[in-house]
Amino acid sequence: MDIAIKDGKIVEKVDEKKAEVVDASRMIVMPGGVDIHCHIAGAEVNSGRILRPEDHFKDVEAKTALTRSGVGYSIPSTFTTGYRYSRMGYTTVMNPSMPPLEARHTHEELDDTPMVDKATYPLLGDWWFVLEHLRDGLLEECAAHVAWMMSATKGYAIKIVNPGGLEAWGFGRNVKNLDDPVRYFNITPREILRGLCRVNKLLNMPHTIHVHTNNLGQPGNYLTTLETMKCVEDLAEEGHPAIHITHCQFSAFKGSDWGTMSSGAEEIAKYVNHHSHVTLDMGQVIFTDTTTMTADGPFQYGLYQLSGNKWVNHDVETETSAGIVPFRYKRKSAVHATQWSIALELALLIKDPWKIYMTTDHPNGGPFTAYPHIIAWLMSGVARKKTMSKISKRARRKSLLPSIARELGFYEIAIVTRAGQAKALGLKQKGHLGVGADADVAVYDINPELVDPSKKYKTARRAFKRAAYTIKGGEIVVKDGQIVRPVFGKTFWVDVKTSLPIEVNDDIKRKFREYWTVEYENYPIPDRFLHVPAPIPVKAEV
């Protein structure tokens, strides 16, 4: 079967005599990879870069005639990030967790990330106006405000991190469960989640709410995660997801303390298998030295206390918080090895690959360059067994992996690495090779008819590490794992069309003057600020 490409789109047919032909026989052809959750740009990422010179100096890329120089490893510089994604056949990358105040910085870095299309999610779960509107039951006003925020920050989806907890963290506190009220606002995480889920539906946003749960990274938190998924159950329309639980591995711990910590993947998988309103991504842990960075300030503080490592913690005015701690995941640590196991258990126990996607929550679980390793683990019991033999004995005893025989095939890998993610994101032109799709194609040099990935997982790993071809917007940008043409990607943002033009009232303007370091007039980002803006118009119900 041939795939015809014209003007950056996949079309029915082209004139074969005039067209450039890429011979992909005996290879795997997939849509370009889509990453739903990966911290690649913004103030947080950049602080991580500044914090970690030792992360860079062992991973240096020299400049070539076509590409710029740069450094890795866990927090690569912007250009290197783009090149490395492209070499693996990825063409769309989503940057979660952007403090709205840092939107300008985030977009500047995204503009400097070549080779991939991208978008970013503003953090709105602890945003003062959202909390106030939801507390007062003003759902439509809240929706209008969120619509304004999407256009002001050029955002793509509503990101919620530890709802309520980050506001509480401004006063040195956290929230314990979904019904623990946030001080001074008298609103519970449950109300925030349900409120924003409704707002998301009112605005017809392409993606669901993107949630980093409460109590993340604490033993016993799988109950909170189940509760979080249940709390929006009634808001879902049949067959449509209403919530995306991101890096679910970090939210699937059982046990009462670190000594008894074990996997809660079975319970979560059971719930997800019986409900259609949830999508997840893995948040796989890789045994390496990495840099954790989330907007979850209290969690990051806890991580600092555990590791004793250097750390950054930041309260972003009235909006959110942030924290960064370098971290090494060790094979021989029972907790780290259990985390490694949990993510794989989730991916294998959830039967429908359209519900769980492959991520490392780069760089929190490990750098995205480890994706080929995860593919190998998902496709091959032998690969899992080999890693199992090297991990902590206690974790091995507790792990469910030896009892799971499932091995994903190439089609399922295509779903968990691109098709499913594009569908969850509502990117209709991505993640498939049908007529009308963007001409983002990845070709991997492995013959699925001859190679059995469950036995020859190393061959598969090698193939996914270096795409034979990456085609971005109809142009060959990577050949044999080398960049042959640097290109700029688009920046998607959701342009919500409300029935009436959104008015920002004087009260909000006054608050900007009183509480923000940036004046209201300077706050919104104009469309022309972006290198290649790609607004996605949606019609809202308000």
Binding site: L51, R52, P53, E54, F57, K310
Partner: protein, 272 residues
């Protein structure tokens, strides 16, 4: 033995990681001349910058590289070496013996900063003075020197042994501020004076100051007066005040300070 003679005076830093016995071994003088190095931002070959003389080795002798002339702008000499000898007749620039795993480096003149940083084993001997961050970790990292010996016959600069984990640094002369900062283990032996703030944030290990030190950090507490102290196999005669710290980091490092050279510290004795 291979002898390198710089062909001219270098004005910009030269990065010469390839000047290393592991790289030179079993290569002819011609092959060695084609090795790549950087002079500033220009790519050059070793033969462009150095005259290379190959002398047949006596079979009993270890592989040796001798550098005659001014290489005070040449960095990373002997980086990552694991065997053999390097003799620098003159001064050496920064990062000498960085990450070395074995062998011996001798410098007859001075060495600059970051000498022996992250080294794992082997010996570095500096006949003159040395700069800052001797045996330290790379910036931001906590993996300092983890074995081997650095002997400095002259003085040394600031933050010597930063994040040191094992091994010995011996300074015959004086030392700058913050010797043994963040030290995890190992020994720093200072025969001369210290500028102070020794052992800041140390967790473990041993620092011995035989000369004068202006003051002890307030996060150290006096523990004992010892007649002598053992440094590797050597017994150093005292008496020494023994301090324990850095308590701000819950550390249990030992700081030995000569009693006779530091009469101003006698007020600590009442806390014993």
């Amino acid at each position: 033995m291979i002898t390198l003679y710089p062909k001219r005076l270098f004005k910009v830093p030269v990065e010469a990681e390839c000047i290393c016995p592991d790289v030179f071994a079993e290569k002819s003088a011609k092959e060695i001349a084609t090795l790549q190095i950087w002079e500033g931002n220009r790519k050059r070959t070793l033969g462009d910058l150095f005259k290379i003389k190959h002398e047949t080795d006596s079979p009993t002798e270890e592989f040796t590289i001798r550098i005659c002339g001014d290489v005070s702008k040449v960095r990373k000499i002997g980086a990552k070496m694991s065997m053999g000898n390097i003799i620098v007749e003159g001064d050496a620039d920064m990062h000498l013996g960085e990450e070395m795993k074995g062998g011996i480096i001798t410098v007859t003149g001075n060495a600059d900063s970051w000498t022996g940083s992250m080294m794992k084993n082997g010996t570095i001997e500096i006949k003159g003075n040395a700069g800052d961050y001797i045996g330290a970790s790379y910036r931001g990292s906590t993996q300092g020197m983890s074995g081997g010996k650095i002997i400095i016959h002259g003085n040394a600069g600031y933050e010597v042994g930063c994040f040191m984990r094992k091994g010995l640094i011996k300074v015959h002369g004086d030392i700058g501020r913050f010797a043994g900062i963040h030290m995890r283990d190992g020994t720093i032996f200072i025969q001369g004076n210290s500028e102070g703030r020794a052992g800041a944030q140390m967790i473990n290990g041993k620092i011995v100051v035989c000369g004068y030190i202006p003051s002890i950090l307030p996060t150290f507490t006096i523990d004992d007066i010892r007649p002598k102290v053992k440094v590797n196999e050597e017994n150093v005669e005292g008496p020494f005040y023994r301090f324990v710290g850095d308590l701000a980091d819950g550390g249990d490092g030992k700081l030995f300070v000569s009693k006779t050279k530091n009469p101003h510290l006698s007020s600590y004795e009442e806390y014993l």
